[in-house]
Symmetry: C2
Subunit: 273 residues, 2 copies
């Protein structure tokens, strides 16, 4: 999917919501455990109930990998279901991968070509030649971890290098990578005030903002400091939507939670004009 198509979808749906499919057998409704593939059954129900309210889904790969081969089967079914039934949806493999060049190419092929995800999250620590293999894929997007929303972000990401925080060095340096136009960035919403400075460095890039909801960010704050005139934001919510209820009505409850956010987002998009 091109960035332009993503922006079109945002305006059409009046939403820049990304729903995190962090599907956990210990948290999904009990009645689904009788299904042949409970993880996929859950995801399908959530997608059916919410796809008109969001523009992206983001399965965190750890949740699937934790169930071994069964988890991978559920992931394959989920991404195929999305690509066949909702090709307008932007899909994000939240994998946080990163390895030396020829190995990164293997991860890129696995997620971009075989699974046909539109994008993948990548850790920046190993630098240029670990990231560029992902950037080489046309109309695929590499979402680099810049500033994460967890406490450990302060261990290294906010440390100063030549008078500038490490995460800003990541933002600047990565903009010189080949095919940098295919870069997006993860920026934790718990630091909304940082967004002004981030926007000075990367005015045009899309930001994937986790942590609105369970991790404590504020939608209005993020939009105020992070939105650009191409919107430039995907805001993720996982648990607050997919686990809004763990009864028979879980899908309807998820749709309600998503609708609540979507309406707010429509308001924020209105301010753009």
């Amino acid at each position: 999917m091109t960035t332009e198509e993503l922006v079109q979808q945002i305006h059409k749906k009046q939403s820049f919501l990304c729903i995190g499919l962090d599907t956990d057998l210990e948290k999904i409704p009990n009645h689904l455990l009788e299904e042949e593939d409970p993880i996929f059954a859950f995801n399908k129900a959530i997608i059916d109930a919410t796809h008109h309210l969001c523009v992206a889904y983001k399965p965190n790969i750890a949740f699937y990998e934790a169930y071994g081969i069964k988890g991978w089967q559920a992931l394959e079914k989920t991404i195929k279901y999305l690509n066949v039934n909702h090709p307008e949806i932007f899909t994000i493999a939240d994998a946080k991968r990163g390895d030396i060049g020829n190995t990164s190419t293997r991860y890129a092929k696995a997620f971009f070509e075989d699974l046909e995800f539109d994008s993948i999250t990548i850790a920046p620590y190993m630098g240029k030649d670990s990231v560029e293999p992902f950037l080489a894929f046309e109309n695929k997007h590499t979402i680099l971890l810049a500033l994460t929303s967890n406490q450990g972000a302060y261990d290294y990401q906010t440390k100063m290098i030549d008078g500038k925080e490490l995460y800003k060095t990541v933002l600047e340096t990565s903009q010189s990578y080949e095919n940098a136009k295919n870069l997006m960035y993860v920026v934790g919403a718990t630091k909304a005030s940082f967004l002004t400075e981030i926007r000075e460095l990367i005015p045009n890039s899309f930001l994937l903002v986790p942590g609105v909801g369970a991790q404590g960010g504020s939608l209005e704050e993020v939009c105020k400091y992070g939105m650009n005139n191409q919107v430039g934001l995907l805001i993720n919510s996982s648990r607050g939507i997919i686990y809004a209820s763990n009864n028979q009505d879980f899908a309807e409850a998820a749709a309600e939670s998503a609708k609540y956010i979507q309406v707010k987002m429509a308001g924020e998009l209105g301010k753009l004009k």
Copy 2:
């Protein structure tokens, strides 16, 4: 496996060689492609031929993930084969994972409990709460990326923070993490001269050194600067061993290449006394 058991194995086998199982269908001998599971058939033959010459195997997970479910099945068979037939071998999941706390716990369970690897490689960028979930597993080892052997290492890892390179900040900071005794570190052998300073910061930790061979490091240099009195080194070779030949004799050729390194390692261990 405890660190003490690993050190015992090193002395018993007179080797601190780790063999990287970066198994690639495009590089393995053609006759294996007729097997039901060519990846496992290749790994089994390599293990059968080399297990007495090395103390560790390190499958890079990207190579398996690239083949989807078939790849995961081959990985599961490989680790099970090692754990059943060669329980004295130290196993490393070269996964370079790292995520927020509860997600890291899922990766830890997948690799430590379900697949029963002895250790996993982890990227440090997200800090303490992304690493500690791995450290919580007793007699399991978390191998943190510090200084990698690729060109991109110079993008961030060697940048100065308060007069000290980022990778040294990673070494120091991580030593204060809970259960830091379960930490080992990846240190690229192409920078053997850096090992003196690294040993000042972490005199006792085991180092996993990739890049001897294909990536250009020197065994003698690494031992001179990196060895401690508990050996403290695992030196990895992947392509130089497993692809020593791609004919019918590939396993024997792998054993010859491994033997060549093992003999050199025995010489280096002799210098310890």
